[in-house]
Symmetry: C2
């Protein structure tokens, strides 16, 4: 199909498609007679849907989407590398890990997160990004509110174990390796937003009972 | 204390403090003899810590932090309004809710989310933002991966109910109304990031067992 048809089929404006092409998020179409006549395939349509969801619904930056797609498209890149990159690249950066932030709250948070990891029997690679994020976030909470959130942190880990099984079942159920990585990416990025929205609904429901206006 | 002391005590650079003052995120100090001699209090230090955590760790925009703080500082604003605003303002915007996105995936996602809300007995205000976000996100997942994520959405709701109780207990345990709203803000914004980081650790742990490299 031509660019105009790709735009109609995907619902993505031509200007946005051109932007994604320039940014290398979408492979060029097959050139026939002139560059303006490039032809796009079903694979383009599918990739376009993935890119748009990551950027617009998932809030992932262009640079991160590009890195993950490059790894996904590289036949020399082993699947587990793409998988790891997917998880790492879409991780929001934690606050700067400089010496100034190594205060008592940071040390207490690190101890607490490592206790929780041990209690849940999680086997993690050393210096895994989500552990660092968890420590920085809990440290910020501790600086603002003392140890008030220490108890909920353990419950969050229980909730994480509850959802991780079904999340991984969904990924495991996909046979095709490329589709499997795509599914992991969708589940990680969009699943995080879905879980957040569910939590806010549960809060609203609970608040209505506890703090009637 | 003077600005330089406020900077040392908070660990926030003077330039950043000046930026927050200009943006109205931090009230001006008490002016003594000259504007350069403005004095800052413990209340400034506390507010500065809150603003910095929201912006740097929570990833909340300057505009949203300003709206929430204005409501927090307005004695005419009832507490439950600030609370609602806090939840609403820090909600990441969902994709545009235009007619073009009302496709079969969108309709299926709306039906599915409403089933889940009913099954959990959640009482929500009509058109509550997190319901809209949940529908848009699940619709995007459905467009990309079919109904593969329908099952996990229900498990996310179970996880949300699991954490909402302890989250609200933490807020309820605070007597002072201003501190209570602050605690709700911290728990909502930073808690969402902490829960996300926990989920990624649980994924890594589960992946290591299922997809050994």
């Amino acid at each position: 199909m031509r660019m105009a048809e790709l735009s109609r089929a995907s619902g993505v404006p031509v200007a946005t498609i051109k932007f994604y092409l320039r940014e290398g998020l979408l492979p060029r179409g097959e050139v026939t007679t002139s560059p303006n006549q490039a032809r796009y395939s079903e694979a383009h349509l599918r990739r376009l849907a993935l890119v748009r969801s990551m950027v617009e619904v998932g809030g992932v930056s262009i640079a991160v989407v590009r890195r993950v797609l490059e790894s996904l498209d590289d036949p020399a890149d082993p699947l587990h590398h793409t998988m790891g990159l997917t998880l790492e690249a879409t991780e929001q950066p934690a606050a700067e890990d400089d010496a100034a932030t190594h205060d008592a709250a940071r040390l207490a948070a690190e101890r607490r997160i490592d206790e929780i990891i041990a209690a849940h029997g999680w086997r993690l690679s050393p210096d895994t990004p989500p552990r660092r994020v968890a420590i920085e976030v809990l440290a910020a909470m501790t600086r603002l509110a003392g140890d008030r959130f220490d108890g909920v942190a353990a419950v969050y880990a229980d909730a994480a174990d509850l959802v991780a099984g079904p999340d991984l079942d969904t990924v495991s159920s996909v046979a095709d390796p490329e589709t499997r990585v795509e599914t992991a990416l969708i589940g990680t990025v969009l699943g995080e937003r879905l879980l957040g929205a569910m939590r806010r609904m549960a809060h609203e429901n609970g608040s209505a009972h506890r703090f009637p206006s």
